[in-house]
Assembly symmetry: C2
């Protein structure tokens, strides 16, 4: 492990118990029956612990959407051609993708990162070019990347989120784009959760039965060829991962090191979280699961991480679209805690003695 990664992990500390206790105490004197805002209350308390503030604040919001290509697409695992990864990056830059619309709606900026798209992308001031390589190698034939590339991907994520912190950042959402990346994520999920490949593999962007069975076979072959060991998360990333997955793992670690809450999106972000939390188990407390994806592996990721999703809207787009909705709920939770009147302030009677 290199210096930046090791230092970042060492900076991830426990949640601030005192701030959480104060947030909980305040929730209990706000003008509502105790606990009646349910998960919004819990979320506000978690955010207090992460930010180490009795009344956490969310003003600066960002989604970091990382794109990369996957060599395993050569095996015919996706419904879309791999050119779509680059095309969608241009769509992000043009503001016309799902994540652009939803991020605008929640007031979050979108940071688009080329972590390893298999095409020369036109320079654009809105695009962070951090290509680790022109797509991964085909994991069905050998490791998707070298160990050095795996570390490079994670450290790139750390650097990117650290630069965003310097600009002002109170919460960050993870997002992904990469044709073939549900295949890599299913492989990671099978390794890290110990579930069979069939249980953690889905239809991705929308493949039919026969292609689905083929996808399972390809993932099983990748695992047989590479023999990834769940106790070696960096090697798992190298063998069956992706550059955007590594980058997002780095974003999560870097954010937690700065006490910034991370709203994780769907299945690909979940795979990144499996790698990142294996490197730093304390990271888990800094994660907020936005939603549960239609991809069947995602529920096993969430169970493994001990996270309960906020939303279940049958979404499976990725890009950070679920994370953006989770950011909205997080911000709402902080506003409830900050802005509601207490019983005393509003002159409202508390519970009867008889209750």
């Amino acid at each position: 492990m290199t210096r930046l990664l090791a230092d970042t992990i060492s900076l991830i500390k426990p949640l601030d118990a005192e701030a959480m206790a104060k947030a909980r105490a305040r929730q209990d004197i706000l003008t509502k029956p105790q606990g009646s805002l349910g998960r919004l209350e819990e979320l506000s308390i978690q955010l207090a612990g992460i930010q180490a503030k009795p009344i956490p604040r969310i003003n600066h919001k960002a989604i970091i959407t990382m794109a990369a290509d996957h060599g395993v697409v050569a095996e015919g695992v996706s419904a879309y051609p791999k050119e779509v990864t680059a095309q969608m990056v241009y769509n992000f830059l043009g503001g016309g993708a799902g994540i652009n619309v939803i991020a605008r709606q929640v007031g979050a900026r979108v940071i688009v990162v080329d972590m390893g798209v298999a095409a020369e992308l036109k320079a654009n001031p809105q695009l962070l070019s951090r290509k680790v390589a022109y797509g991964t190698r085909n994991m069905a034939l050998g490791p998707a990347m070298t160990d050095e590339q795996a570390v490079k991907a994670i450290e790139t994520g750390i650097e990117i989120v650290t630069a965003e912190v310097a600009k002002g950042l109170d919460i960050v959402g993870s997002g992904d784009m990469g044709i073939g990346n549900t295949t890599a994520s299913s492989a990671i999920c099978a390794v890290m959760t110990g579930r069979p490949v069939t249980a953690v593999t889905g239809r991705g962007t929308g493949i039919a039965d026969e292609q689905f069975r083929h996808k399972v076979t390809v993932i099983e072959r990748a695992l047989a060829v590479n023999r990834p060991d769940p106790k070696q998360p960096l090697a798992v990333l190298a063998k069956v991962g992706g550059f955007e997955i590594g980058g997002l793992a780095g974003v999560m670690l870097g954010a937690a090191a700065h006490r910034i809450p991370v709203v994780i999106d769907g299945f690909i972000s979940g795979a990144a979280a499996l790698i990142a939390t294996a490197l730093s188990p304390g990271l888990k407390d800094f994660l907020i699961a936005a939603h549960v994806s239609v991809e069947p592996g995602h529920q096993w990721v969430l169970q493994h991480l001990g996270l309960k999703p906020l939303l279940d809207l049958n979404m499976r787009l990725g890009e950070g679209t679920g994370a953006a909705l989770g950011i909205f709920l997080s911000e709402t939770a902080t506003k409830v805690l900050a802005e509601m009147s207490t019983f005393a302030e509003a002159g409202v009677s508390e519970r009867s003695e008889t209750a």
Copy 2:
């Protein structure tokens, strides 16, 4: 049935099938795998049908929060004293309640209505005084209100939402405040869904076991004394309802008559929806269920209405807090449909031939 109510019901027409077909066709050419935004896509199509526009728009948003008192509180069914209803109305007017915070967050105005608070409220330009009476009578001893009062409550709701339409309204959320109103709602729910009282009664603002058993007994007594017939929804409202419940039923009917989508909040709004949809079954298509409340009866309400909640956040505050979150998701759904690029516009390849 009086003229305004009958006319309103006659104005509720089916959803616009052509607008829905166009919305669906547009969703399928936006730059994402078909269906990958799940319930946001379905919601956009429903909204197209309601507004009769291929691309529905949500600019003007309102929550109508109706307050009233309940005579049945004399039986000791609530954890809070009945004075809290009036105190919370002042809290709404002061901007410090949960609904104020969440409505601000989603950009919705809050219309606070006194439908029958059992206190003389100080005049306030932000308060609509539409008192039907100073609280209902005790339904455990006889009808909660007269038949005329039931119609008056509903027609008041119709008038209020119609006035809001004139000011500009693209979506409306329902909200309630009334100590004792889960008791009335459980009674309505038992009658209209046919479920036993024990299955549809909960802890309200937070009563303990013994008081809960007492609450069930009181509701059973109210049903035995009044013998409400589910085929006579106005009489059900009169016998075991509340003025805010009737008012919200009117809001729903009046909104649907103007093709305005209605986001229903929790259990009390659900009880209002049971009355309103019994008066006009076509109303159902205009309703969006924001969330499922902790109150156990709410799931039976939603099942009876055939509505699937968007959120499940363990909330049970009422006031329209869940509805406000549902308005946010509805607005997001319309923006996705309106603002995302098509494959052609963005130059993104569609699915491979082989897929």
